[in-house]
């Protein structure tokens, strides 16, 4: 089995802290996800997601604050609107839309963070490496 490479974009205020919470509780999850801290989930453009695939990622996970809790009030509203469109576009261009996953994780939700990471790592492991799909 190959070891998938996953890029995780986490907003600084909720989800990154949620990942810290998981750590403080010593919860375990697979090491495949490389977390990139960004101010808000709204910072991530569709372009950056696609770029991650181009640079070798097999999956991209984007986590932000729950709707209504965004540190910047409505930054994540944009995420919620733009990412489903990107998934459609990925499907259209032949990239499995499951390779991109969006969810909301609060600073308190260490457990949810762990579950989400485990499940997403499994999903991506079940897919062939991204480079092969693109051949």
């Amino acid at each position: 089995m190959y070891e998938p490479k996953i890029i995780g974009f986490l907003c600084n205020w909720c989800s990154y802290r949620g990942a810290d919470t998981a750590g403080m509780a010593r919860m375990k999850y697979p090491p495949n996800v490389k977390i990139i801290r960004v101010p808000c989930s709204g910072r991530i453009s569709p372009e950056l997601v696609l770029r991650s695939f181009r640079e070798g990622a097999d999956g991209v996970i984007l986590l932000g604050c729950h709707i209504g809790d965004c540190h910047y009030a409505t930054g994540n509203h944009r995420t919620a609107k733009r990412m489903p469109v990107l998934k459609k576009l990925m499907e259209y261009t032949g990239i499995e839309p499951e390779r991109l996953y969006i969810n909301w994780v609060s600073a308190a939700e260490g457990e949810k963070f762990t579950t989400v990471i485990k499940e997403f790592t499994e999903t991506i492991s079940a897919l062939p490496p991204f480079v092969e799909t693109m051949k």
């Binding site: 190959y2 070891e3 490479k5 890029i7 990154y16 802290r17 990942a19 810290d20 998981a22 750590g23 403080m24 010593r26 919860m27 375990k28 999850y29 090491p31 490389k34 977390i35 990139i36 801290r37 960004v38 101010p39 808000c40 709204g42 910072r43 991530i44 453009s45 372009e47 950056l48 770029r51 991650s52 640079e55 070798g56 990622a57 209504g68 965004c70 540190h71 910047y72 009030a73 409505t74 930054g75 944009r78 995420t79 733009r82 762990t114």
Partner: protein, 668 residues
């Protein structure tokens, strides 16, 4: 990115053991040796591991290397940046490296504590260090911007909250503009007779405060006025205020009252008297109004509508009536703003089963407040709609429009106490029977439950159950409800019903929020920055909220918030200037196509559209650095400093570089 040459930097990498927290799982020596060797071509010139990087010795290690080895970039792999990023940024600063040229990566909370396999954990640490090194060479020095604070303050809303806030600030020696849309300050509290739980007279405690605010040398009171426009940012707001024409020359008016005595036009007073009483076309809402000057209600004035009358003008002893007065537009500069715009009462007509508006002897809570007020339309007598008959029995219905999924899910927090107050007042004034229909009794305030016990002992009938319907019958009204304590339907005949309607956000709350650049909750209450730790600040620096505009609350809580908001503002004024976010967004005017997508996406209205140029422009002092605009801009014309595409892509390449090489060693 590939086209550009990688910057030549001298990077120092520091791996923390954190005692055994990290070193117990991650092979830290291996990581630092590896970084020194494998990342040399990325710019790493020093790589060390150390027991506790955050200790003063650890920090000195960095400072020494910066000076002796000429480091231009620093990476620390340790705990969460939420804990020690500031520590290391300061260390860099002290040694002459700009704090934004430092990068921290988290190998404790997000590696050693969550990874079981030691080899895997070590590999992940290398990947994280490589990512941080990849990114750090693209980081740019940033300087914080400082803006001076204008010490003047705007308070919007002159209810008890706004009055409190204005007085606190004015007493400290700063100047306040207090803007109130009604002819007088006072808000809802001025309408009440008695206040729970002490039953002290509302006017007796409020009037002195109103008077102080009205006469304070540091308060410019603008009543019958409204804020039209707000521009700028913390420290530097420019506010446009419309002072509506009162048609009274304030400098001449003595408030003698001859005009409203002589005015022949009677108007139902929907605001102050809650529709229960009348006022004239020229009026002050109540005798203790501050300021004392009346206003002429243009829509109802016979002269304005029909062209003749001018009774007030004829009788005014000082010649203060000015029918040709115009609205005035004022522009004021302030550094901070406090919103204290209060609440509206839920419109009980929305629940047809309760018959308000159709059954004459169903009253709202505010009508009842006016009725019991000695200065009110019935001069304090509790009577039916006919104005003379005293009711023998009264039902008070709790939670009207509150805790009801058809109207408002929330609890209005004051209605239980206010209903108990009504029970007491009915008993005191009529001696009649009182029935309270409640869902749950909520009396969690200082001396509140004691008040509840006292009212029960006064002989009030408590029925636990939601009222289904109020109908006419048996010569009066019949209240139907399921008594959930005995599990029976009850039909209670009464003469009068009082609906304790809930509090709701002001009808124009959304508009006001937008004007001041703040947000509203689903129920349109203004949203505070943090529900527990920052209850009066908002996400917009320099704009504060206090009192019932932030959510239902009683007078003590409103006053406390008014004072709290004042304290926050005074602490900002005391600083003289304020540091604002350095990692802000920037538009590249050359590539911007002028689509305005970013303008709409910014949660802070920080992006201006320069019509003449057809380009977007970020007002740095308003930008909070979220990057939402960057994610929106199709031609990639916006850059968010410290989170540029270049930096993020370098970070991901750095991370995956390691993952790849490991895959290869495994294959081999």
């Amino acid at each position: 990115m590939k086209s550009k040459k990688k910057p030549q930097e001298r990077v120092g990498v520091y791996i923390c053991h954190c005692g055994s927290n990290i070193a117990g799982v991650v092979n830290v020596e291996d990581v630092s040796t590896w970084a020194g060797k494998e990342l040399e071509k990325e710019g790493v010139v020093v790589a060390r591991d150390y027991k506790f990087m955050c200790s003063s010795l650890g920090q000195e290690l960095i400072e020494k290397d910066i000076k002796e080895q000429g480091l231009t970039r620093v990476v620390v792999a340790a705990c969460s940046p939420h804990l020690h990023e500031p520590t290391f940024r300061n260390a860099c600063s002290r040694a002459g490296v700009n704090p934004y040229l430092f990068e921290m990566t988290n190998i404790r909370e997000q590696d050693s504590w969550v990874t079981t396999d030691k080899l895997e954990a070590t590999k992940k640490a290398k990947s994280l260090v490589s990512a941080a090194v990849g990114r750090v060479v693209y980081q740019k020095p940033l300087e914080s911007l400082f803006v001076p604070i204008d010490p003047n303050v705007l308070v919007v809303g002159g209810g008890v909250t706004g009055i409190q806030a204005a007085l606190e600030i004015a007493n400290s020696g700063q100047h306040v503009y207090l803007v109130e849309r009604e002819p007088s300050i006072g808000g809802h509290m001025a309408q009440f007779d008695k206040t729970f739980p002490t039953l002290d007279c509302s006017a007796c405690i409020l009037t002195p405060k109103m008077f102080d605010a009205g006469n304070h040398k540091n308060i410019t009171m603008l009543t019958w006025s409204e804020v039209e426009k707000v521009e700028g940012y913390i420290g530097n707001f420019t506010v446009t205020i419309r002072k509506r024409a009162r048609f009274i020359e304030e400098s001449l008016c003595t408030g003698c009252g001859v005009c409203w005595e002589k005015c022949p036009k009677k108007v139902v007073d929907d605001v102050f008297e809650a529709g229960l009483g009348y006022r004239k076309a020229v009026y002050t809402p109540f005798p203790q109004a501050v300021p004392k000057y009346p206003v002429i209600d243009h829509e109802n004035c016979t002269y304005f509508q029909k062209g003749t009358c001018k009774a007030c003008e004829k009788f005014c002893p000082t010649g203060a009536i000015k029918f040709d007065q115009q609205d005035e537009i004022l522009t004021v500069k302030v550094g901070n703003i406090i919103l204290a715009t209060g609440y509206d009462l839920f419109d009980a007509r929305k629940i047809p089963n309760y018959g308000y508006g159709r059954l004459p002897n169903v009253f709202t809570s505010l009508e009842f407040e006016r009725m019991t007020n000695a200065a009110g339309p019935t001069m304090g007598k509790v009577v039916l709609r006919d104005g003379v008959t005293q009711p023998k029995s009264v039902a008070v219905i709790h939670c009207v429009g509150s805790r009801d999924k058809n109207y408002h899910n929330y609890c209005s927090s004051i209605c239980c106490m206010q209903s108990l107050k009504f029970a007491h007042l009915v008993k005191e004034k009529t001696g009649g029977d009182v029935y309270q229909f409640y869902i749950d009794m909520r009396t969690p305030g200082k001396s509140y439950d004691e008040f509840y016990q006292k009212i029960i002992h006064e002989g009030v009938n408590m029925i636990r159950g939601k009222v289904a319907e109020i109908i006419e019958g048996e010569g009066g009204l019949i209240v139907q409800a399921e008594d959930t304590l005995v599990g029976k339907q009850r039909r209670i005949p009464v003469d009068m019903v009082i609906l304790s309607a809930g509090l709701e956000s002001r009808a124009d709350a959304k508009e006001v929020a937008q004007k001041f650049g703040i947000s509203c909750s689903a129920d349109d209450w203004f949203i505070e920055r943090h529900p527990k730790l920052d209850p009066v600040a908002t996400m917009t620096d320099g704009v504060f909220v206090a009192g019932a505009c932030q959510g239902p609350k009683d007078i003590p809580a409103s006053v406390a918030q008014g004072a709290a908001a004042a304290a926050r503002v005074l602490s900002i004024i005391g600083q003289g200037e304020i540091e604002i976010e350095a990692a802000t967004a920037m538009v590249d005017e050359i590539t911007c196509v002028g689509c305005k997508q970013c303008v709409a996406s910014c949660p802070y209205q920080a992006i201006q559209f320069l019509e003449e140029k057809g380009k977007a422009y970020v007002q740095e002092a308003l930008c909070k650095g979220c990057g939402t605009c960057v994610g929106t801009c199709l031609p990639k014309s916006i850059t968010l400093k410290h989170f540029t595409d270049e930096q993020i892509v370098a970070e991901m390449i750095g991370a995956m570089r390691v993952m790849k090489s490991f895959e290869m060693t495994e294959v081999a």
